[in-house]
């Protein structure tokens, strides 16, 4: 079970990376970033897995609790990721106003 979870996380990560590398739409780039982040968070969360674990709410009804530390990271990282995505979207809106496009290959006024 656990390898499947890790594998899925890594596959999600790879899909995100592929999206970033192959798609020209800025929105898709941002989606790719979120996917990558999601993959990593899945990985972290999976690491807190305990066979038959219960949520870490006192009193632990019915057994060993799962590892709460990855959960708190994940919460923190999710919030941070959401902030990043929000910022990226704001930038995309601005960029669209300036360039009239969201094609990543056309937004290269700065180079060299």
């Amino acid at each position: 079970m656990l390898p499947i979870s890790y594998g899925t996380a890594i596959i999600v990560f790879c899909i995100g990376l592929y999206t970033i590398l192959s798609k020209r739409n800025l929105f898709k780039t941002v989606i790719g970033l979120s996917l990558m982040e999601g993959g990593v968070l899945m990985l972290i969360t999976s690491s807190g897995y305990v066979p038959g674990g219960v949520p870490a709410l006192l009193p632990f009804a019915g057994g060993e609790p799962v590892n709460p530390l990855p959960h708190s990271f994940t919460l923190t990282a999710i919030v941070i990721g959401a902030a990043d995505v929000a910022l990226a979207l704001a930038f995309i809106i601005k960029i669209h106003r300036r360039y009239g496009t969201v094609d990543i290959d056309k937004i290269r006024g700065l180079r060299g």
Partner: protein, 464 residues
């Protein structure tokens, strides 16, 4: 900083003397001119003295670069591009030197100024070689010397290049055949190039290379005699080459040109100038009882067991004579172009004459003193020995005879002669092509960039 030894003191004295002469020639009037013209010269003198006093290679390099910078500000007034070439060339040399020094130093301890290990020796030679204009590394010298304002030309040739020699003197403590070879090649190459020049200062610049070749050959022996000979020639050359540069500068002041094709009336217009020039020229040609003569005799005796080397130096001396015959003839007496060529458009000024006189007196003094005082290890007798006189006269007479026999052969030519410096521009262009590619590769495509990052990450994984 340790107590200065006699070598340092001699160098300091030379630096002071040359700066005095140069600033006398520059003769600043007014406060602004003082700051503009004289301050950098004296700054140079200060840093040069510091360099001479340095006890570690690091402080030597610092002094070297600082003096380079202060001369740079003077050369800038002559020609912008030249000054940049000068600075960058000197910086490269100093950088190589720095690199070599760092390799020799351990953390917290500096490499003392002196001989270094076998492995580092070539690096040091290269580093100092840029300063001392070893063949191939001399690319900056002719252009800088000819384009710079005259007082700084004198200082450059008179002292700046000698700092490299000073470094070599500190560095070399045993026979070094490659250096000897370099010295001979330098001496001959400089002379050959000088013969082909038509620009007075450029001609003198090539002679500087040639004379430095004598010095390098002398110090490459590593014997005390050789080192003394080198040091003596350093001083002698500084004095007479300073004199010659100042006279060439005076010619330029008089006629507004340094081209030997355009000159040729000064012998009548300014006989005093010619007289001073003659002192310098005879010294550099090694006319007996001049400082050049003494120096060359000592050098030859230091190289006595290297017959071919002496022959090479004799040849170089012959060329020197030829070349100065040409200079004297076309610079002062035989007008080629510009027949109507008006009267002098200005005057070198009293201060210029004073500076040149000072140098001429010093040259004569240095030429005569060894005859009475045991200034040189060989003593006065060696200088007066018939063999030595013949040796000294051969190039002189031979050169004069050749010039007299084939005057047309040695007429100043029109165009410039190719040298390493001409290869700089094409070489730079060749280097710039990949650079432009590098710049084009920054396309602004985010996806490519991220792909590169990922590729680098994978590469790192692979290497870990």
């Amino acid at each position: 900083m340790t107590r200065p030894d006699s070598l340092s003191l001699i160098m300091i004295a030379l630096a002071l003397f040359m700066t005095v002469a140069s600033s006398l020639f520059a003769g600043a009037k007014g406060k602004e001119a003082f700051w503009r013209d004289l301050a950098p010269l004296w700054l140079f003198c200060l840093f040069a003295c510091l360099t001479a006093l340095a006890s570690t290679w690091l402080s030597f390099i610092i002094g070297l670069e600082l003096s380079t910078l202060s001369l740079f500000t003077v050369i800038r007034r002559g020609d912008e591009a030249t000054s940049r070439l000068y600075l960058l060339a000197q910086l490269s040399g100093a950088s190589v030197l720095l690199f070599a020094t760092a390799l020799g130093s351990s953390f917290g301890g500096n490499l003392p100024l002196g001989p270094v290990s076998e492995k580092l020796f070539p690096l040091f030679v290269i580093g100092l070689g840029v300063k001392a204009a070893l063949p191939g590394l001399h690319f900056w010298l002719p252009r800088t010397h000819s384009q710079a304002p005259t007082e700084s030309s004198a200082l450059l040739s008179g002292y700046a290049v000698k700092m490299g020699i000073y470094g070599l003197l500190r560095l070399v403590d045993g026979p070094s055949p490659p250096l000897l070879l370099l010295g001979i090649v330098m001496a001959l190459y400089g002379v050959v190039q000088a013969l082909l020049q038509h620009d007075a200062k450029r001609l003198l610049a090539y002679h500087t290379i040639s004379q430095l070749g004598f010095i390098v050959a002398a110090l490459s022996t590593g014997t005390p005699l050789g080192r003394t000979a080198a040091l003596f020639h350093v001083v002698a050359h500084a004095l007479f080459k300073g004199l010659l540069f100042l006279s060439a500068g005076s010619l330029e002041k008089l006629y507004g040109s340094r081209d030997l094709n355009q000159l040729g009336r000064a012998g009548r217009d300014a006989p005093l100038l010619f007289g001073l020039f003659l002192v310098g020229a005879s010294a550099i040609a090694g006319c007996p009882f001049t400082s050049g003569y003494a120096a060359k005799i000592v050098i030859k005796s230091a190289l006595a067991d290297q017959g071919q080397a002496v022959l090479g130096l004799q040849l170089a001396g012959l060329g020197t004579t030829l070349s100065f015959c040409k200079f004297g003839c076309y610079g002062f007496f035989r007008s080629l172009g510009n027949k109507k060529g008006g009267s002098p458009s200005g005057s070198p000024g009293k201060n210029a004459y004073a500076a040149m006189g000072l140098l001429a007196l010093a040259t004569i003094f240095l030429g005569i003193t060894p005859l009475f005082l045991p200034l040189l290890p060989l003593g006065a007798k060696a200088l007066l020995a018939p063999q030595a006189l013949v040796d000294g006269l051969i190039p002189l007479v031979g050169g004069a005879a050749l010039f007299a026999l084939f005057p047309r052969l040695f007429r100043p030519r029109q165009g410039d002669v190719a040298d390493v410096e001409n290869a700089l521009v094409p070489a730079g262009r060749l280097l710039l092509r990949p650079l432009a590619f590098l710049r084009r590769s920054h396309t602004g495509r985010l996806r490519t960039y991220i792909a590169l990052i990922v590729a680098a990450l994978i590469a790192i994984f692979h290497s870990l």
